[in-house]
């Protein structure tokens, strides 16, 4: 009899437990980021920013009273260590959500792993467009744009601001991103401005300390435009050496990742070159700089690190906003104290959220739609480094292929009218 009663009580309680999870003592999340290696120029600022976001939210009482705890995993330790750490944090430590990762290679490794482990994963910074074009995932989301939207914004800005250029040369790092980004850029250029001549393609090795020979060659070739999607120390060295030798006076540089090097380059990035930010990420974001949350964070970040935030900080803010908004939405939609996994996944589908930039949303293929900010460098004297003028913010929707199409096929079908069809806001500075 007693057994029967217990069983009935358990059965009666069952629908309830299926509806909601118990409120945990803390929401554990794991974040992969580069703490060592060249890409720590992005990873360390993102971690510092994440610490601030988490501390701020926890000071307000967390999500529905649950504080957040982050475990950081170093992507610089190599793919093998990374996957075993990812597994450990997701399984043994019981992280409810993972944020992985910076490197596109790591995203391609960890997306299927997250799917296997059934842990929701927000791909917070990696650029490769292939993930959702070649696979479909239930547990993987990307709260940011991808290489396609970033490169198309660069092409569009170049065509709008320098419509008459005839020759271009490229100097990219010799690894997946350097090659893939040039493929997208080149394909787009051929579709939208077929007459442009590519006079030089250079892929110096990743981490090359010297670009002197490439620069001599470029000075002999005199291309109208020099494209480089390099970043970190490679970009700094290339721009510094090009500046030292006067190449920046004769060619217009297009540097889609230079927002992350502005402060380090100081006066070595002269006026008149095209700068991108992998999204609408800029410490003087024209639409956001007067907003209290934006200003407040900039002050906190400056105080904590002494630097201005770079795009990876904005990407971290977007992932954090997506996480927080998804939990709050799942709690509100289901009227529960704490959502279970299915409720969280349902909330992430089509989620709208806002980090430090414009509002983003997730498409049905889980790809984020992120606006893209491009600008031209200017040395105004207000800061000891270049800032941006003639800023354009492109709406992200027009920069992505329709769901189900691959970027390459879609871009090949574009033409010169593409640029005019984009929704764009322009600001003087």
């Amino acid at each position: 009899m007693k057994k029967l009663l217990t069983t009935s009580a358990l059965l009666a309680a069952l629908p309830l437990t299926a509806m909601a999870a118990d409120k945990p003592a803390a929401l554990k999340i794991g974040m992969t980021t580069f703490l060592t290696g060249p890409a720590s120029v992005f990873g360390v600022p993102a971690r510092d920013a994440m610490d601030i976001f988490v501390a701020n939210l926890n000071a307000e009482g967390g999500i529905n009273g649950v504080p957040i705890e982050v475990t950081y995993i170093d992507e610089g330790a190599g793919a093998e260590a990374l996957t075993s750490e990812f597994r450990r944090v997701a399984q043994t430590e019981g992280a409810e959500v993972m944020l992985a990762s910076i490197s596109s290679g790591n995203c391609q490794t960890l997306a299927p792993l997250a799917e296997d482990l059934k842990v929701p994963n927000l791909m917070w910074d990696c650029g490769t467009q292939r993930i959702f074009e070649e696979h479909s995932y239930d547990y993987v989301f990307r709260p940011q744009g991808n290489a396609t939207s970033e490169m198309l914004a660069a092409v569009a800005y170049l065509l709008k601001t320098h419509p008459d250029f005839e020759t271009i040369a490229v100097v990219n790092q010799d690894y997946a991103w350097g090659r893939d980004s040039w493929d997208i850029f080149h394909t787009a250029l051929e579709a939208m401005k077929p007459g442009v001549k590519v006079v030089g393609e250079f892929f110096p090795k990743f981490g090359a300390p010297d670009f002197s020979t490439e620069i001599s060659r470029l000075q002999a070739l005199r291309p109208d435009v020099v494209l480089s999607t390099s970043w970190g120390g490679d970009l700094d060295t290339f721009v510094q050496q090009a500046f030292q030798r006067g190449l920046m006076n004769t060619s217009t540089f297009v540097l889609p990742l230079a927002e992350s090097s502005l402060e380090r380059l100081g006066s070595s990035l002269p006026a008149g070159h095209v700068v991108g930010a992998r999204g609408d990420h800029y410490f003087l974001h024209p639409e956001r700089r007067d907003d209290p949350d934006f200003k407040g964070f900039m002050e906190q970040y400056k105080e904590a690190t002494g630097d201005i935030p770079v795009y990876s900080v904005f990407h971290a803010s977007q992932a954090f906003a997506a996480l927080k908004t998804a939990y709050e939405k799942a709690i509100a939609d289901n009227g529960v104290d704490w959502p279970d996994e299915d409720q969280l996944l349902a909330a992430l589908d089509g989620l709208e959220f806002q980090g430090l930039g414009r509002t983003l949303h997730l498409r049905e293929d889980h790809q984020g739609v992120e606006s893209q900010l491009m600008g031209t460098s200017a040395q105004t004297g207000e800061y000891p480094f270049a800032t941006l003028e003639n800023i354009m913010i492109f709406d992200g929707e027009g920069l992505l292929p329709p769901v189900g199409e691959t970027s390459t096929d879609w871009i090949k079908g574009l033409d010169a009218s593409f640029v005019d069809g984009l929704a764009v806001e322009t600001y003087d500075n």
Binding site: P38, P204, T213
Partner: protein, 301 residues
């Protein structure tokens, strides 16, 4: 390929070779005398660069003229040699001269790994750039292409001065002759009263100073960041192996071959530029396993 492009590639190759040679010089000197392949040489190079950037930044902030960066390069190189090179030889290497080569390699590799983390601890992970020295010398324009005086003229001059200086030092000074004697036969040298321990310590410090000087001279031209030491040790090892371990003059030739090979590749076939140093090394070692100028030696074991 016309004459202009040929000359441009030549200039680029020479200035690149000069820098690589300065670093390879220290590596090959240490190997020639002590028979130790010092992997930590790469770290000493990186720390030389970091030290120069920090010192230069500090003194320029105090209001010193940019030309002051040049003596600071020497100061940094000597600091690296004495403060790091000295203890490494005295505390570690001295204990393993008679141990198997694999162990020696592992020990210097361990030192390399430790020093890599020390750099990260002291200087963090963000790249540094300090080009005052380079800017102080200005530019020259040849065939419409602008070069920096620092890279086109100063670096090759320093490399040649070091090559001649070191050869003169080894052959025509007392200490140099002591080093050569110890290199030839350590036991015989000791039996006639040469303090081999001190000779080794001195040689290692000189080699470490050269590594630091390489880093100091490279610092105005490139971003200083974690990992730069690993790249340089691989490249300078390629130079040293191509030349034949311990061959000082040979290292100069090999550095030139590799520098020129790389710069001509950038003009003719950029895709293979990255491979060129190693292709040259492989080709040379296939034909002459002891290197271009090395002589075959009987195995120790």
């Amino acid at each position: 390929m016309n004459l202009t492009i040929f000359l441009l590639a030549l200039f680029d190759g020479i200035s690149y070779a000069a820098l690589v040679f300065i670093v390879a010089l220290g590596l090959t000197l240490i190997f020639g005398v002590m028979r130790i392949l010092n992997v930590a040489h790469g770290s000493l190079y990186a720390i030389g660069a970091y030290a120069t950037v920090s010192l230069t930044g500090f003194f320029l902030a105090l209001g010193f003229a940019p030309v002051f960066a040049f003596p600071l390069m020497l100061v940094s190189a000597v600091l690296v040699g004495v403060l790091l090179g000295g203890p490494i030889e005295w505390l570690l290497l001295r204990r393993i001269y008679d141990k198997p080569e694999v162990l020696q390699l592992l020990v210097t590799f361990a030192v390399f790994m430790i020093l890599e983390d020390v750099q990260r601890l002291v200087w963090g992970t963000q790249p540094y750039f300090q080009a005052s020295a380079l800017q102080a010398l200005g530019n020259v324009t040849i065939f419409g292409v602008t070069y920096t005086v620092y890279q086109l003229i100063l670096l090759p001059l320093v490399a040649i001065a070091l090559l001649i200086g070191l050869r003169f030092f080894l052959r025509h000074t007392v200490i140099g002759k002591l080093i050569l004697a110890t290199t030839e036969d350590r036991e015989a040298a000791q039996s006639i009263g040469i303090d081999a321990d001190r000779v080794f310590l001195f040689t290692f410090v000189v080699g470490a100073v050269l590594a630091g000087l390489g880093g100091a001279l490279a610092s105005p031209t490139t971003s200083i960041l974690p990992g730069m030491g690993a790249d340089m040790i691989v490249l300078s090892f390629a130079v040293v192996a191509t030349a034949g371990l311990g061959q000082i003059g040979g290292a100069a030739i090999a550095a030139l071959m590799i520098g020129l090979g790389r710069s001509f590749a950038v003009y003719v076939w950029p895709e293979v530029a990255v491979l060129v140093p190693y292709l040259i090394m492989v080709l040379v070692l296939l034909v002459r396993p002891e290197g271009l100028f090395g002589s075959p030696v009987a195995r120790k074991i």
